[in-house]
Amino acid sequence: MTATTMQRSLTTTVAAALLVLSQPALAQAPEAATQDWIRTDRLPLLLVIVLVASAVAAAIALARSGRPVKIRRLAALDAVDEAIGRATEMGRSVLFVPGIQDMTDIQTVAGVTILGRVAKTAAEYDAKLEVPTCRSIVMSAARDAVRAAHFEAGRPETYTDANINYLTDEQFGYVAAVTGSMVRDKPAACFYMGAFYAESLLFAENGNSIGAIQIAGTAEPSQLPFFVAACDYTLIGEEFFAASAYLSGERDQLGSIQGQDLGKLFAAAVIVIGCALATAGIWIPKLAGGADALRKYFGG
């Protein structure tokens, strides 16, 4: 039995035990029947969710029906092949950092998904891919993603667990370890895809000092300026979430990006209407009431 099989067996056994142990929680459900069963104060948010979900679903359905899906080019993703090719030519490795949060953070999920795509390209080019992780579960997920990528590339024999390791949960301990290995091993391409905090600039400046091509993506608004300033390419916010779909090329996933844009149009429309009402309300008091109502409905 391989180590991977042991991991999976252990995890499955624990999950099954949890399912059994959670019966008391299910038994608690009937007690809540005496309270209000639905949070009416959150209905406006439910409406927004339904609208956005409907837009995404409709866009996916349209994409499936054969309607062409046009997504603007994302320079950062077009540069992935270039970066990995450069690393292969130079005989140096590729570094992929999937962020410092756990799999509960959607950014880490998106990062690991992109890792799968990057790993497939690295496998095709026969480039060494290193993935140091900050959480144990992320290590397991990353290993699965990279293994699957090697199979998909037709290079299962080149996969090895040795390059995907857990370092530490501690933020700056992780940064110290990764930046130290960057300075020693000098990867030619560095990918930073996930949730980052204060360590973003440490990674980016170190990568710059070793001459690596750097592609970053995060949805942490406070860290975006550091990546934009110090990296060659940056996926900003929603571009990062669209990256996985973009790289897959699948019509369903590209359609969901269009649905996301419909949601943005809706948000923009509400903002414009609200601002117009609030501005006009200065001269026509009745309209100010409309702006207040809109604010209360969507803002709580």
Binding site: Q171, F172, Y197, A198, S209, P221, S222, Q223, G300
Partner: protein
């Protein structure tokens, strides 16, 4: 600009920049450079929010940072604890970060026990400690504090601590203050604490400079006061010390100590940016001339 100087600037080893930055921070600290501070509206709002809490009320201080951010956040945390104690408020300490509890313990030792020796554990202040769960902790505390914290950080049941024995939910606190370095922090307190009981208590927050953009939308409606980075801490310290002076001002004055190096370092960064741009312009003009 001569060719050799231009070449040097364009190929400047970053270690010279590191050296300049190191000196720009070290020299003001060694020379004890101090500059006057003028409290801005956010620091005043934070000060007024604490002043508005009636004497004897209970406040909740959440230490949501670790040693990495202590340089930026510890000054405001120390000033806040001193301010609350000087106003004779009962203080409940807690932490959403694992290492936040140690930061709170240190602040209790350095500030509370030092300047307010009359404060008794159990009746005037309690340390609840760290609980995992991030915003889940806040959500549960909003409706049921004893369910979230059955004991304090040293294992004593809450029911045997007079200060917190009768606390049911967050409405028991007149003020909630979160000193936060990231997630979870002040934003989660606003979203899940203030969101659950909008009028029950005031919220003030202290944050690092990079976080301010995420917290500004909540000021001043959901968050009555906000202290941003060392500057905010220095301004708040000034206000607190003016009204409640201490025998050892260096303990509550660390924010102002840090403003000296901050000024010199910022001027250095401006100089570096200007120098870099001059080199770029000179390089372009030479390239155009050729």
């Amino acid at each position: 600009m001569s060719d050799s100087l231009l070449a040097r600037l364009n190929n400047l080893d970053r270690r010279w920049i590191f050296l300049a930055m190191g000196l720009s921070i070290a020299i003001p600290i060694l020379l004890k450079l101090r500059f006057p501070e003028y409290p801005g509206p956010m620091a005043r709002a934070t000060f007024n929010a604490v002043e508005a809490v009636p004497e004897g009320s209970t406040v909740l201080l959440s230490f949501d940072y670790d040693p990495a951010s202590a340089a930026e956040l510890q000054p405001m945390a120390s000033a806040l604890v001193h301010h609350c104690a000087a106003r004779k408020l009962k203080i409940v300490f807690m932490a959403l970060w694992p290492l936040g509890k140690k930061q709170a313990d240190g602040t209790i030792d350095r500030v509370l026990k030092e300047f307010h020796p009359g404060y008794q554990y159990g009746t005037d202040y309690v340390q609840l400690g760290f609980q995992s769960g991030n915003e889940g902790v806040i959500k549960l505390m909003a409706t049921n504090v004893p369910e979230q914290y059955k004991t304090d950080s040293s294992g004593t049941a809450l029911t045997s601590l007079p200060l917190v024995a009768g606390v049911k939910d967050l409405s028991a606190f007149k003020l909630v203050a979160s000193i936060s370095a990231g997630y979870p922090g002040a934003k989660e307190w606003v979203q899940y604490g203030n969101g659950a009981m909008p009028e029950a208590f005031s919220i003030v927050g202290g944050s690092t400079g990079v976080q301010v953009s995420q917290l500004l939308p909540y000021y001043p409606k959901q968050m009555e006061g906000m202290l941003v980075a060392v500057k905010g801490a220095a301004e708040y310290e000034m206000l607190v010390e003016q009204k409640y002076p201490v025998a050892k001002p260096e303990v509550i004055g660390q924010g102002r100590v840090r403003m000296g190096p901050q000024l010199v370092a910022h001027l250095l960064m401006i100089a570096l940016i200007v120098l870099g741009n001059l080199a770029m312009i000179a390089g372009r003009s030479r390239g155009g001339a050729r």
